[in-house]
Each structure stands twice: as C-alpha cells, then as structure tokens.
Symmetry: D2
Subunit: 155 residues, 4 copies
C-alpha cells in the first residue's frame, strides 16, 4: 500500500485528505468518529486489487494528458478541460464504489457535487498545467467506499 499512497501523494493527495472526506460523509451518523477509526477503512479500500488498478489507470490518464503524449488530441482536450459530459472518470469511480454496495454509490454522488476539502481543491486547480480529471473522482470514490464500509460495520 506504500506505493499507492506515494503515488497519490505525488499527485497532491495525502491519506489525511481522504480521511477528511470520509469524515465529511459520516460525521452526522457517529457521536465520536476519530481519524484512527477511519484510517482502518481507508487502508482496507486502498488494499483491494481492483481499487488499486482503477487508481493506477486514472492517474496514468491524468499524467498522460498533462504530458500531452496521447495520440488522440481531441480526447486529450476533453479530459484536460474536465468536460462535464465526458463520463469515463465517473465510470472508473463507480468501478470502485460498486465493490462497496449501493450506499457507496449514493455517497459518491453526494461528495462529487459538494466537493469538500481536497476534491474541491483538485477541481479548482489550474487546468492548463495540471490535470486531475480522474483523480478528483477517484478520491471521492475511495472516500465513499470507506464511508460505506464504516456504515455497514457500525451496525
């Protein structure tokens, strides 16, 4: 898991950033929700093979667009501008959420609109130099998945 955390860090996302997103989603349902408790669920999500592959693939696309190395320049422009109707970034995010059930999907839809913390920051980043089209959805999906697992375990 160190590798995936290092990759996220290199793209501007710390584990603490993800923890804060989970806290945003779950705080109202818990009297005392600590970072220590949330970490367990974030780690669990990040350790899953299909989650890792989705993260690697999404970030690879973001980086390729930043470096302008894709053959398809029209696609590069669509991803670079984070076109609201592109949709493939959300498809990858749902590939993560689906593994954690229907509550994870609902959580994702909510956090994707509210854009708390790091998600808003990635979304507002200057599109000319950096591309986080996949990353902001991936972070939302990781948080939504961890929050769903936390909710299921609570009961």
């Amino acid at each position: 898991m160190e590798k995936i955390l290092a990759l996220l860090k290199s793209r501007g996302v710390s584990k603490q950033d993800i923890i804060e997103c989970v806290y945003f989603l779950q705080k109202q349902y818990h009297d005392s929700l600590t970072s220590e408790k949330i970490i367990y669920y974030v780690d669990s999500v990040l350790n899953k093979r299909e989650v890792k592959n989705a993260i690697y693939t999404g970030i690879a696309l973001d980086v390729a667009v930043e470096k302008k190395i894709l053959d398809n320049k029209e696609l590069e422009a669509i991803i670079s501008n984070d076109d609201g109707l592109y949709g493939v970034d959300e498809v990858l995010a749902y590939g993560i959420c689906n593994l954690y059930g229907s509550i994870a999907l609902t959580n994702f839809g909510y956090i994707d609109k509210m854009k708390p913390g790091i998600i808003g920051k990635l979304n507002r980043a200057e599109h000319t130099s950096a591309c986080h089209t996949f990353l902001d959805d991936i972070v939302g999906a990781i948080a939504a998945a961890a929050a769903s697992k936390l909710a299921h375990d609570k009961e």
Copy 2:
C-alpha cells in the same frame, strides 16, 4: 404512460413533483429552464420499458409491505423501517439511472441525500401506515435520469 402516471399519483407523486426535482438538479446550469422543457424529458424517461418495470416492481413491494402480505416478516420489517443498509431500493434506482449514464448516477446520489420536495415528503411519511421505501428512490432516479438527458441535450 397514463397508467404509470396514475400509479404514481395513487402513491402520492404527481408529474409536477418530479418536474420540481429535475428543476432542483438542473436550475444552476440553465438561464431559463421551464416546466414545459422539463416535461419532455420526464415523459421520455417514463416511457422506457425498463424504467416502467422498475417502477412497477418497486411500488408492488411498497404496497405488499403496507398490506403485510409478504411471507418473509423479517424482510417486511426491514423494508417497512426503510433500514439505511437495506440497499435493494437503491439497486432498483440504479437500474434506472444506469440507462442514462454516469451523470444520472451522480445526480441520484446528490438528490438522495438532499431530499428536496416530494422525496423528503415521502421519506418523512409515517412509516406505520404507509411504506415508500422504494418509491422515494424511484422518484429520485426518474428525476436524476431526466436531468442527465437534459444536460446531454443542452450541449
């Protein structure tokens, strides 16, 4: 489509209620968004066979729970209480949203948390007499689907 509208009406949901949910989701992206325009998209969603089947099935379950005619009394209690971790109501809703792409799913997650208009009303209804566990998600899904189609057509 008259039949499906009559069924929704008999369960407390008018076409105008759904239009208001679509408006809630789309107002910020349009300068002038009229009911007339939204109606076209709501009708289009309600006319789709798989959407109709999901509506019929979800409402049939709500009604069966109200009438207490299911064999499985434990399941009846779970649905009657709208247990947050039940999940099958959202699965049916996603069956509708998926037909309209990833934006519909995101819209659904958002509206399901915000519970505007009729969705909040259904959700707050007295659980001892009425059961709207499937219906509130179905209405959210119809609105999310119509809003997604509207967004795609706008461009």
Copy 3:
C-alpha cells in the same frame, strides 16, 4: 446463514447446487478444485448483508407472484412468464455481482446464457405452478460472485 440456506432449500436450491455452478465456472482454471474449497467462497457470499437482502427480496417477489397476491396483475403476468425483457431480475442479480467486481459480472452473463445444473432446472420449471424468475438469476449471481472471489484469491 442457516436461515438463508433453509429459504433457498424451500425454493428447490441446495448448497450443493450452487457449488456445482461455481465448479462449472471455475473448473478450467484449476487443476484440482474440490467442493470443500468452493464451500468457503459460497458461504462468504451468502454471509454478506446486501447479498442476503437481494435474495430475500427476489424470493419474496417470486412467492408473491406464485400466490397471486400482488395488486398489479400486469406485473404479475410479466414476472410469471419470465419475460426476457423484464430486466429487474437481472438488476437484482447485478446488485450482488457488482460487490465482487467486474469478473463476477462477466461470469454472470455467461452462466445466465449457459444455464448449467439447477439454473436450467429452475428455468424449465412449469411456469403455471411455480415462479423462479428472480431465483434463477439470484443463484447465477451467487455462483458468479463466489467464482470471482475464488479467482482473485487464487493469484
């Protein structure tokens, strides 16, 4: 889990039937694949809350259709005839498969067309007396999910 196994048994499906479906999906990838090994994965799938809820709900619909107690007689006829375009039975099945990743979905599509063992038997059952429209897809989804988990653990 005893309760869910008893319910499946009462509808004509034994644990051994499910094991054979998993074997059908995985035999070509393993030199020696025993029932003992497969049982672990079937149990694991059947113990998951969202899986249980999908099973309970699908069977409740099958039983309600058999007993002819649904208000909506048109829906009752569609489910009773296992109309190929109904689709809600598969939506419920995907609610199970999605939890086990994309390989589970592919496995489901394959087993749903091939209809080995108990799935074919349920599918061919006399529609006038029994209704297994949801059950055959649910059994396929359980087997597809268990096979997917087995494949992921093998590596």
Copy 4:
C-alpha cells in the same frame, strides 16, 4: 461517426466485424436477421457520446501501452499482458453496456467468454507487438449493446 469507424479500423476492427458479433448474439431469436438491419443498431450505439468517449479512452490506453509511454511501468505490464484480474477494461465495457440495460450486460458476459470472430482474433494477437486489452472488451460491449437494443425493438 466516420471518425470513430476510422479509429476502430486503424486498430483492426471493421463495422462488418461488429455486425458479425451482433449476429452471433441474436441469430437464434430471429428468423431472418440481415446485416442491413443490424447496421442500424450498431450505428445508433456508435453515435452515443458516452460510447464514443469510452472507445476513445480505451483505445488511447491500448496505444499508450503499445508505445510504452506511460510513467507507471507496472501498470503498463499488467495491461500489456491482459491480466485476467485487471478489471478496468471490463469496467469501461460496462460503462457502455449499462446504457442499454440489463440484457446488454448479460450479452457482454456471454460474448466475452465465447470470443467469437474479431474478439477472439484480437485476444489471440501477439501481445509483444500489439495491445488490445481494452479493444476486445469494447467491441464486445458495442455488440452487446446493439443486440440488446435490437431485442427491445423486436417486441
């Protein structure tokens, strides 16, 4: 649509190849199923924005892996070898199928295992020179989607 057909052609897939995959999926349900009839449905699928974006993105990843230009060399190896547990290629394919309902998903699972025509050819291609990890699933998804739309229209 000429652009997407040209792109597919440049990767070894003709419209006729896709038509044959649809025929494979639907022949048993029709007395007389002609290429002319199938073309309408293939065109309709290929004209959908979200389908186009999934095709563009999947092929961009295949090409980037062939050219060895991705930063993440581990991911490059996983995609290049078409690792059965990678899963993101299927996630993209489901992003297409979901738009066409649950029957499209079942069709995809079946065709992905049977690998008729072009799908088998892409799958057997020498992995050292060409990468079709995303393309074979994308072609399967286009065919599954077109077959599902054809089945719905038939009734």
